[in-house]
Amino acid sequence: MINQKTRSLNDDTRIAISMVAPALTGLFLFVVLPFALALVFSFTNLRLGSPLPIQFWGFEQYRRIWLDPSFRQALLNNALFALIVVPIQTTLALGLALLLNRPLKGMAVFRTLFFMPVVFPMALVSVIWTIIYAPGSDGMMNAFLKFMTLGFWQPRDFLHDPALALPALMLLSIWQGVGFQMVIVLAGLQSIPTSLYEAARVDGSDRWNQFRYITLPQLRNTLIFVVLVTTILSFRLFDSVRIMTRGGPGNATTTVMNEAIKAAFDQQKMAKGSAITVTFFLIVLVITLLQRLLVQEERTIE
């Protein structure tokens, strides 16, 4: 017994540090440090390969990107993306989860099929959908829309049409992402105690009321989480933009990350890229904090 006591205080700290060291070192070197660097660089004029010495520029980079039409368009595009994709994808995820949450045979098969696009790398999804969006009446999307509109649809070149390019990207994002959110909502649905529904049925409540007063409130936190993740993903959008449209036509599909990479990687403007990156992080932070607030609020009420 004396043995155990003397070992617990001292040794725990030593051994704990060694167990935690690899992970924390990794996090420090490859997460904390880069972020600090981004912060620092964003206040300079650092440009890789430039012979000029680095200068402290204060908020000049930030001022410039706020005035940059490409960046403003990118912010707008990301916001539009979030405003449209989040409700559609969340509603779809909820709808599919509700459809699947029944003791019918074969539900697992459908769940698999809906989830399948999720395991596809976005790069591959972009390549496949590039050909789906092929212009002319040979293109699959054009043919599909013509069929659905009973012949009214005229073939369009989606990826080169300023009005259609962003919606085209939205569609394939939704296609790829819905399965993921659906699984999360489904798990949330299945954790609702059936006793609640039984009590409601005994009280004579119909399905719609059960949905409104039991399902939705119980799902509140899950749905908020899904909304948060999808919103943040909307701002992270990069792969499909880079591969399918490069931000074009013009600036119609550029995103914050696309601008960041254009600056830092294509143009070697490290400071500008860093400033955009920091701005991006602030946006994500605000969205996340909002979600935490919404979830906390519910907890204190309970």
Binding site: V32, P117, V127, A143, F238, I261
Partner: protein, 289 residues
């Protein structure tokens, strides 16, 4: 049971039957919309290149007529697909395996050991969870360029081993384990490390599976980092490879489709075999979030 009752019961079961059929119908229609692009890719990979585009507007896009593996042969002749595949597999597996070790150790130390700085560091780890990779891609690029490590495996593996979210998943799992498990071992004088390896790990299969799957899924799809940090084919992984291949003249869509099939087949097979784990893993991100 009187006449009215039995009529009501049969009306209910008729309604139920109708609802069932309608559900299946709806589900099948939606499922087709989800599968269509995938089917299109698979069937397209088996067709001669010209037909991939020209038949895309018809139902023939989904029905192969003369199956040929020529496109697959073409891919191997035109690029070093095996190299790309090996790169993805090697990079991914290394990240997953090393990540499991490093993050589980940390998660356990946070969950079960008492040490100075534990609470503060745990708070920092949780705060880091909200940082998406894109927020550090640019400076990370600078770091590795500065170190002369562009176009290496190291650059594609090392930054992704330690992961705040994985640590958190391990941490919450280990905290939920019953304390009696370790108490017996501690009384016997076992060190925390021994306790971890011999007692905790064997009963933690679910969390290890979850973290492994989520990590593999995330890293297999990685495009942005590969784009920034690799220069030539030597260490280029699959997602970047197909994007480059798509623009490699002559642009033959049949070849591109078969590249895609080969690229996604392994993870699709793994997914189909371990579905339950995939779904559980994904669902758990929701409950922890």
């Amino acid at each position: 049971m009187n006449d009215l009752d039995s009529k009501w019961i049969s009306k209910q079961s008729n309604q139920q039957w109708f609802r069932k059929v309608a559900s299946y119908f709806l589900l099948t229609f939606i499922a087709f919309l989800f599968i269509a692009p995938i089917l299109f890719m698979i069937v397209g990979s088996l067709k001669p290149d010209e037909l991939v585009l020209s038949q895309a507007s018809t139902l023939k896009a989904f029905i192969p007529q003369q199956i040929s593996l020529q496109n697959y042969r073409d891919v191997f002749e035109r690029v070093k697909f095996e190299r790309f595949f090996f790169n993805s597999l090697f990079i991914n597996s290394t990240i997953v395996v090393l990540g499991l070790i490093v993050n589980s150790l940390a998660g356990y130390a946070f969950a079960r050991l008492r040490w100075q700085g534990r609470s503060l560091l745990l708070l920092i780890v949780i705060a880091l969870m909200i940082l998406p990779f894109e927020a550090i891609a640019v400076p990370l690029f600078f770091q590795f360029t500065f170190l002369g490590l562009r176009n290496t495996y190291i650059a594609q593996i090392v930054p992704f081993i330690a992961n705040a979210f994985s640590i958190y998943l391990f941490y919450t799992f280990f905290t939920d384990l019953p304390k009696e498990l370790e108490e017996a071992a501690r009384v016997d004088g076992a060190s925390p490390l021994q306790t971890f390896v011999e007692i905790i790990v064997p009963v933690s299969k679910p969390v290890f599976a979850t973290v492994a799957i989520l990590t593999f899924l995330t890293e297999w799809r990685s495009f942005l980092w590969a784009l920034m940090i690799t220069i030539d084919e030597k260490v280029r992984p699959l997602p970047l490879a197909i994007a480059t291949f798509q623009t490699l003249p002559p642009i033959q869509w049949g070849d591109i489709m078969s590249f895609g099939v080969m690229m996604v087949a392994p993870i699709l097979v793994v997914f189909l075999l371990f579905q339950k784990w995939f779904v559980k893993g994904v669902a758990s991100t929701g409950t922890k979030g």
